[in-house]
Symmetry: C2
Subunit: 408 residues, 2 copies
């Protein structure tokens, strides 16, 4: 392989707040190892940019600009959700061959790892010597064979802080119930992270529902009523991916069965649906919040740990590829011991492809409406320091409440 | 009035991220002016705490604790949404008289100013000498006779940054349309603040809909299609308060006309409804985000200007009351001149009560789907510094894009 071999990097799927830090990690390491020799290209809009021969010259980006790019949400190269077929993979490899590209990096989640694998297989098939490497990225945290995925920790920080914020708001008001919708199509890692908002046992969120467990309406309503009877207010965190006992989405259900007066299907928001049912079935005023994409695009709530690891895993990916390895996804390995430390590794793309790592059932409480405290040890070191230290008057240690409250 | 006269403070309505800074402002000024002489009580849960004789002894709160309380979302005293009648006002005044309370402060929005006024009238009626003062607070920014309302600026910062975040996410992805729902029941001040997210003309949000103007479906869809045809992606900011030409809520409409399979009314979320209509009518994949209460409870996104003014307006309120004034709401007056400076004033509660200050039509663009740049001069000084300085590769000044992109 020539020392002047070119590098191509692309980004696939939904962004994370640190996806551009991984891009920076690959670019910086490549520039370091290749010197002035090789070209470093970004493909526009993921693999479609390769197929369409659409490039950004990443050598032209100054260091200062990179720092700002790395701190910006969204995929700086643009993204796509394209599933590559074998013919397209062969065509993409041919395009890269024409540019003398010897290193191909795909930053993304499960679908993107599938693309990276197909590119690797197509290169082997065409006997073109090109390293294909996946750099993990997903707020869902559902890639296998890595302790966690870059992007997850920042989204976890955002949603845990949001649950804490919401709790402070709701507990001071007469609207007693709020349902907070959390991203995560299949896996409950992210909604489980709202556990971090809870400093005292009665803090929000009081109920947490993951997509790994069917959400049964009767049980859900009973859970809400139980918390309400005890505390007088309830914050529920629910994954957008929760399904009923028949495997149907709590969002999709509604879409399919109801129409508006134009005859159109209505939008299916899980939290809005459940809040409505709390009101109609229990007679409790309930509302819903759905930060949605804001949960993966807030540069204000980036975890410093996540930011660092996202860049380092990208740099490791290039270094490992440069050593002659191919067909791998870079991974994060947590080291044993009381202090949080990681190292980076590589796992075969074949073993990653098609796998979704769900939240282990061990983390789910027996009554299936909460997360066990053990999960805290997994997620807390990732979020980059404690949440905002909120204080309250009614439970203050100086006892301005207990000593002076007098019911009539 | 004795020097040892007691003070009562209460908080009403929905909280803001700085409502506790106003509480701190009143308490600190009261402690300063009264010395060790007077008691300083917080009523639990607004005026209901007065009626129920339920108090917190705010003298017991240490300075360090106050700093943390002032930085915490939610109403630290608890809140209520109670409309006071004359009999209750008389009863509340009698309760305060028993405690020798000579200063009554109500921190809140339009409804709370009504309560403060009724308390003032009841005290006059009962010939009990007690100052009644309103301290403004509302993210909706719709109290009259003040340049702006504490709480608004932080909510504006939150939603403007959110619109910028969302824009960075959506523009990098194939899901082309997102509708962002913004709080604001009647007035468009807050949704208009999303204008600040726009640095370049093509930045998000592309369309802004305020409650002051009816949202006509056909025009809305045509607006979205026009932006989509030009850019290929669309971010819409819409107030939760928008109504159709008949004055009916875009949320309520749906509630009243559709039911789920239990026969219950469905939740009415404006953004979700409009996103659904974009998909069904225009065939564009659309989604919605609704940060909801997070927009008024994020302590991460507090405006430093708002934080300072919220405390100062509370302190001014006490100082003005101490000079023998009553029946007023403290106000913020913007000083003329190029630099942003404010002073504090007092306006009669009679002139505040029942008034909702809408967004002036002058700020609304002729085509009624956007905000005029003139609004920037009003809102920008309030939010406490620029938003996060996001960068992009595809429009970078070094031209890594223009020089190298080659369509096939």
């Amino acid at each position: 392989m020539s020392r002047t071999a070119s590098v191509v990097i692309a980004q696939g799927g939904g962004p994370t707040p640190v996806i551009n830090a991984s891009l920076l990690g690959v670019v910086r390491q490549a520039a370091r190892e290749l010197g002035a020799g090789g070209e470093i290209w970004g493909a526009r809009n993921g693999i479609t940019g390769v197929l369409q021969n659409c490039w950004l010259d990443l050598r032209k980006v100054s260091g200062q600009w990179w720092d700002q790019i790395a701190a910006s949400p969204g995929s700086a190269l643009g993204s796509c959700r394209k599933m590559l077929n074998a013919e397209e993979a062969a065509r993409a490899v041919s395009t890269l061959k024409q540019k003398d590209v010897r290193y191909f990096f795909y930053i993304g989640g499960n679908d993107s790892m599938d693309t990276a694998l197909k590119m690797n297989l197509a290169a082997l098939e065409l006997r073109y010597e090109m390293v294909c490497c996946g750099i993990p990225k997903t707020i869902d945290n559902d890639l296998p064979l890595t302790d966690h995925c870059p992007g997850f920790a920042s989204a976890a920080r955002f949603i845990a802080q949001s649950a804490a914020d919401l709790g402070m708001d709701i507990r001071s008001l007469p609207t007693p119930v709020s349902v907070l919708e959390v991203m995560g199509r299949d896996a409950g890692w992210l909604v489980a992270a709202t556990l971090l908002a809870r400093k005292d046992p009665d803090d929000a969120p009081h109920l947490i529902y993951v997509p790994e467990i069917p959400l049964i309406l009767e049980k859900f309503l009973s859970d809400v009523q139980t918390v309400y009877d005890r505390l007088g207010w309830v914050v529920v965190a629910v994954s957008e991916g929760v399904r009923d006992e028949g495997g149907q989405s709590w969002s999709g259900r509604r879409d399919e069965k109801t129409t508006d007066d134009f005859g159109h299907r209505l939008p299916g928001d899980v939290a809005a649906t459940l809040a409505s049912l709390v009101t109609s079935e229990l007679g409790l005023r309930a509302r819903s919040e759905k930060p949605g994409l804001l949960g993966r695009s807030s540069a204000m709530m980036v975890s410093s740990v996540d930011r660092r690891e996202a860049e380092e895993v990208g740099a490791f990916g290039f270094a490992w590829a440069r050593k002659g390895n191919t067909g791998f996804m870079a991974s994060i390995e947590r080291q044993p011991g009381p202090a949080y430390r990681v190292s980076y590794g590589a796992v075969p793309l074949q073993e990653v492809e098609g796998q979704t790592r769900l939240l282990p059932l061990d983390y789910i409480a027996d009554n299936q409406n909460d997360i066990r405290p053990e999960y805290r040890a997994y997620v807390e070191p990732l979020i980059g320091g404690p949440l905002a230290p909120y204080a309250r008057l009614d439970t203050a240690p100086f006892g301005c409440n207990n000593l002076t409250t007098r019911g009539q």
